[in-house]
């Protein structure tokens, strides 16, 4: 999985590419941990993300919880498969997902 970060002041956009699973999640968790401070607008671009496992969901949830305290978090461009995962797992109710 590749993680592309674009920061513009307090706005951070993270584009994910590949599979967000047990193996790749720790690196995303580390990236978020290192750069989330002072961010008021966090955007995940999932255009090229093929799969999210429960470990990946946990990191997204954790980011959402942090952003609830300091700003907003948006998930955009999720493909159908990933959207279905969000839907089935109920994450569609707690994450701010743009369709």
């Amino acid at each position: 999985m590749t993680i592309n970060k674009t920061q513009d002041g307090s706005k951070l956009e993270i584009a994910l590419e590949g599979r967000l699973d047990t193996m790749t999640t720790p690196s995303l968790e580390e990236e978020i941990k290192n750069s989330i401070e002072g961010i008021t607008e966090l955007v995940f671009d999932l255009k090229d993300l093929a799969y999210v496992s429960s470990a990946g969901l946990r990191v997204l949830l954790s980011a959402q919880k942090t952003m609830n305290k300091q700003g907003t978090m948006t998930i955009r461009n999720a493909n159908e498969e990933v959207l279905e995962i969000f839907e089935v797992t109920g994450f569609i109710d707690i994450l701010n997902i743009e369709e």
Binding site: S53, S54, R58, K65, G90, F91
Partner: protein, 553 residues
């Protein structure tokens, strides 16, 4: 150089050989330089002697008379006139006096020959000669060619009137000679030259004895050096190195016992540093071993405790089947195969009252001890709350609030929880982010039942969990599972997936729950092959038979 206790090693041997080569080179060099220097000084000495003799001879002459004789000798040889004059002079008292004086000088100075002549072209016209061999002695007016080795010297000194400055060396039957060529100048012209042949008889024997002496001295020095080197090598190098090597072997052979001998090496050099390093290393190894032993023991203890924890966790899940032997209305079976020692998956089933059974399957996000602890709490909360009565959504909402409190690790748990009314087969399920259940209607096939799920338990406070109603008819089967089933991964990273799972269930749709689960498990094992198991594999099968006695059946 042999020592009984310490044999000279290859290193020492090479050092001594190298030393011998150096000594040999120095010897050859010093002999070469010595002989050269000696020869040069000897040549100079004999050359000086020859010129001193020549100068002494010059002083004997009455120059005017010499000029006269020289002119007569030249005249005689170039035009053939004056033979009577020459004969007269040869017999004259004066001339014979000169010959005698010169002969005395030759003898007194221990030189081979003194002769006086004039030069014309390539020839010498003799004026006087003192050669001790009568046959070779020239007389006034005799002529001969100039010998090659003095040719240049004779002609240049004749022309310039300056004594030749180089050494004229000449090998004769009696040894090496050196010749002085000394011109006699009178009234601005060179009237004659004096040649003195001086033997260097002592030179070669002196050189031989010099070389011999040097060789003897060098041999003695070499032997002393050998002895000294061997002594130094043995005592300063080989002995302590042997000690170090011996002590290292002793350390290995005697179960890491450190001997004190290493401390006794006090050479104040690199050897001592080496000995100290070896000692430090031995101490370090011992410390490391004792540390490792401690750590290993600790690890074993933790491992043992984890095993106990895994056992406790496994025992928390109902594991006796048939679980309700006196209930003929349904049959159920469940299994959980953890991937690590302790996992986050669990299943549960319990009778809430005589007519209601609760079924739970859940998966805590994460793995290991944190997930296991979370799982224990989640399982307890759900069962306890369910036993108090309430709908699945109420039970999960309660668990959500309780688990969400102080959930610093941000763990959550996906839960499928259903309460089934045994007498009617009516069920209410709440799905908190868990996998789709599979249902098989009587005489049909297993299919996934898809509907929108609620978020997982402990993700956010105050979640409202949706409920989903369903009805089982006699002969229907229900199958729930965790993602360990669908995400079982083959070595080429292909997942088992829901399609293979449904296919596996449909091999024998009417099977009882136990053989249903066994079939799926066997298919997973076959699919995965040798690839390691990453996630817990947990399944629960429920088959509804209905109640024959029940009026509703």
């Amino acid at each position: 150089m042999e020592n009984k206790k310490y044999r000279i090693t290859g290193l020492a041997g090479r050092l001594i050989l190298g030393l011998a080569v150096i000594v040999a080179l120095v010897t050859i060099g010093s002999i070469f330089v010595g002989v050269r220097t000696y020869r040069a000084s000897t040549h100079r000495h004999y050359n000086d002697v020859a010129y001193q003799v020549a100068r002494s001879a010059e002083l004997l002459f009455d120059k005017e008379e010499l000029e006269n004789w020289s002119d007569i000798a030249v005249e005689y040889n170039t035009s053939g006139t004056g033979i009577e004059e020459i004969a007269r002079i040869r017999e004259s008292e004066e001339y014979l006096g000169y010959v005698e004086a010169f002969t005395d000088l030759r003898r007194g100075m221990d030189v081979d020959d003194i002769f006086v002549g004039a030069v014309n072209g390539d020839e010498i016209y003799y004026i006087l000669d003192t050669d001790p061999v009568e046959d070779r002695r020239f007389n006034l007016g005799d002529r001969s060619g100039i010998e090659d080795y003095i040719s240049d010297a004779v002609r240049s000194s004749w022309e310039t009137g300056i004594p030749y400055s180089g050494y004229l060396l000449h090998e004769t039957d009696y040894g090496l000679n050196i010749t002085a060529v000394y011109p006699i100048v009178y009234d601005g012209r060179t009237i004659a030259f004096i040649a003195v042949e001086s033997p260097m008889r002592t030179l070669e024997s002196d050189v031989s004895s010099y070389i011999f002496t040097v060789l003897i001295i060098v041999c003695i020095i070499t032997v002393i050096l050998f002895v000294l080197t061997a002594f130094i090598l043995v005592n300063l190098l080989i002995k302590p190195i042997k000690t170090i090597s011996h002590e290292a072997a002793y350390f290995v052979e005697n179960e890491n016992e450190i001997s004190e001998n290493l401390r006794k090496i006090k050479n104040h050099d690199e050897i001592q540093v080496l000995a100290e390093s070896v000692l430090k290393m031995e101490i370090g190894i011992n410390e490391y071993i004792s540390n490792l032993t401690k750590v290993t023991a600790e690890k074993e203890r933790i491992g043992a405790e984890l095993n106990v924890a895994a056992k406790i966790q496994a025992d928390m899940l109902p594991g006796v089947f048939p679980a309700f032997p006196d209930r003929k209305e349904f049959d159920l079976y469940a299994s959980m195969d953890p991937a690590k020692e302790v996992g986050g998956d669990f299943y549960d089933f319990f009778l809430i009252d005589d007519d209601h059974i609760g079924l739970v399957i859940a998966d805590v996000s994460g793995k290991g001890v944190p997930a296991a602890l979370f799982m224990v709490i989640a399982k307890t909360l759900i069962k306890n709350r369910a036993m108090m009565g309430g709908s699945p959504s109420e039970v999960l909402a309660y668990a959500n609030d309780q688990l969400g409190e102080g959930n610093e690790a941000e763990l959550f748990v996906t839960v499928w929880f259903a309460i089934i009314e045994i007498s009617t087969g009516k069920g209410i399920a709440a799905n908190a982010g868990h996998e789709h259940p599979a249902l098989r209607k009587k005489d049909g096939k297993f299919e996934l039942i898809k509907y929108r799920h609620s978020p997982a338990v402990a993700t956010m406070p105050g979640i409202n969990f949706r409920e989903h109603e369903f009805k089982l008819d006699p002969g229907d089967s229900l199958y729930v599972y965790t993602d360990g089933v669908t995400e079982a991964t083959r070595s080429d990273n292909v997942l088992f997936g829901t399609d293979r799972m449904i296919e596996s269930l449909n091999k024998n749709p009417d099977a009882d729950p136990e053989s249903m689960l066994d079939t799926v498990r066997a298919d997973i094992d076959e699919f995965v092959g040798d690839a390691p198991q990453f996630d817990d594999i947990t399944m629960l099968g429920f088959k509804y038979m209905g109640s024959e006695e029940s009026p509703l059946a």
